[in-house]
Amino acid sequence: MPKVLKLDKAAEDGLRDVLTTLLETGKVAGVFTLARIGQEGEVAFSLISDPELLKDAVPLFPLMPVNAGKVLSQITLVEPDAEPVAVVLRPCALRALTELMKRKQGSLDNFVFISLTCPGVYPLELAAQGAIGERIPQYWDAIKKGDIPAEVRPACASCEHFVPYNADMTVAIVGNTSMDTECEIALNTKKAEEVAEGIEGQFVEGETETEAIEALLGKRQGRKEELLDEIGGEGFEFDTVFAKCIGCRACSKVCPICYCELCFFDSPANEHDASHYEAELAKMGWAQAVPDPIFYHLVRLFHVSVSCVGCGLCADVCPSGIPLSAIASKVSGAVQKAFDYVPGKDIDEGLPITTFVPEEFAGIK
């Protein structure tokens, strides 16, 4: 049973206080969190070292401008962090970071991971319209009632992994009906207990809120079935669903698992010489002049499906509105099930494609 730190403050205010204390007492050299950066309420991730600036931090703001796992991987790739830094990130971002570590893409040695039971985030489109702020009250109302907030991204509404794995601290959100007045942070690890020592608040023996979590999981599973039915119903064909792709590669650029510096599809290997076009023209009377998007998407699914954490950014950035996240969920769900693998759950569990099991998939053989 984990220790729980209780503060008599609203959840986000309490968390901000904890972050401020950690920074002021020198227990961490910086805090990585969402913060307001613009005058019109724009929010972005920031690495903050001045406690004064933490007043702009909005660690629970329901937006995912980028996958934090991807950012943390990139900034620790050349040289790891030497000083401890507290990072606030959503469960899927932490899972993505864990998968990236299995691929040797950075380091997480000195991070103190603070995550939350995650209610989901709104689409980027609403942030672009500056329309998230006005939805905040209804967002928290829905969560207190144990509902899925209206208009959150389909990837979030159907996410089953909203309780973080591997977080040092977990801010209780789901099932916390008193979050307007109370902030509860579970201290899951020794590291968490050490850094939390001396913070003003009550330390109590915690009970994991299982009932509300179970109830929400049920609702999310229902949504997931609906979502998969929508894209997986009759008439679903890869060549029609991907046809209107404009080849911008935004899905790959924002994907935490797509970490290659140069994608195969941007390499000379994917450029055609005259003989390719001549053969196509002779065979069909026409040839696709711009690189084929279907092949790109199939191979991308092939590459990421084992580690896809369903963060939903691919669908969020697609200028053509292709339901990429739902498609990835369908494909990766099947692949991960086949290997009994949950990406980002256990850092010591090897990636299925890099482990060899002599007796496996006998049926296929």
């Binding site: 950066i37 911008c248 005259a274």
Partner: protein
Amino acid sequence: MASTRKGALFSAEQGRQAGIRDFIGRALGEGGFDAVLMPARLSTGDSFTYLLINDESVLERAFALPPIMPVQGAKAVSSIRGLARDGAAIAAFLRPCEARAAVELSKLGQVDLQNLTLVTLDCPGVLPLAEYLESPTKGDEIFQDGARNWNSEPMRRVCQTCDRFSATGAEDLHIGTLGQKDEDFLLIPQSPKGEGLLDALGISTEADISGWEKEVYDLAQERKATKSQAQDELEARVQGTDNLLRLLSNCINCRNCMRVCPICYCRQCHFDSEKTRFGFEDYLARAQAQGGLRLPADTVLFHIGRMLHMSLSCVSCGACQDACPMDIPVAELFGLVGDANQGAFNYVPGRSRDEPIPLATFEQEEFEEVEQSHAGTSAT
């Protein structure tokens, strides 16, 4: 405005698109070119792509002026460069901004115009991509209506202020439609190659085009005024670092503006290379120097760097803005900066194949006023 230039007047009973297809079919059949590169409707019917076609029966999918720009045509021209280089005679049907970008890419060594016949069309603009894809049927209607009346109101903002919607000066053949009857179009040769093509097909150019020229001139004047006003407004909003930061504050660093830009042809962008990746201590030091550091870092630096690289050749095609998931008016910003930089060098990207890109030329006496203002400031 008196012109001695002539064109061929085509009247297509089945409508203009069908007429253009007939012309292409005839050219393919009679060896005017081996294949045509042009937009075509997807078999799913809900969007468009670029196809290379050599079979007349496939031409019914071809669509010379689609209602959207899902791919910038210059990128399509660039991707088939292997074929063009190998000697096949290809005619590319492009919007003026796409042809201009293709000409810029030829100066950058990315496109070979030698075996290409560039054909442009009067362009009424395109609809915003996302809007069209939400309801393609409705989009088709809105576009047809706007195109017929040259009403740019439903088109993208960069299209509404575009004053280079007609012949670029660097194409081989231009198809003029402005001020013509619905089913009519003019074939206007713009180069010896274009003249040769019409000659070979036995099309004589006897029609007077001065009426069309006047229509183009008048609309261009009108658009110039609209653009100047829009740019003044935007300039007031973005001047100074703080304002630029504000305009770009929602940028999520997805690089989509760069990916769809016809001019950004680098296989790997400097800003994605290891040259822009630092150790964690560097990021922390930067955060400590100012209290905090936004991550991903250097989003605005990326945009400034990109503007430095592409602004002289920016044709204001608007593909960047169509692809931005955060609806930042990037095309309008890049157009503003592009026009200013191009104006300083009296350069118009894509108007001539022979005019070198200013950065690739050296003038002994140039920008003295800039030099003067920095005189004596060097370390020596």
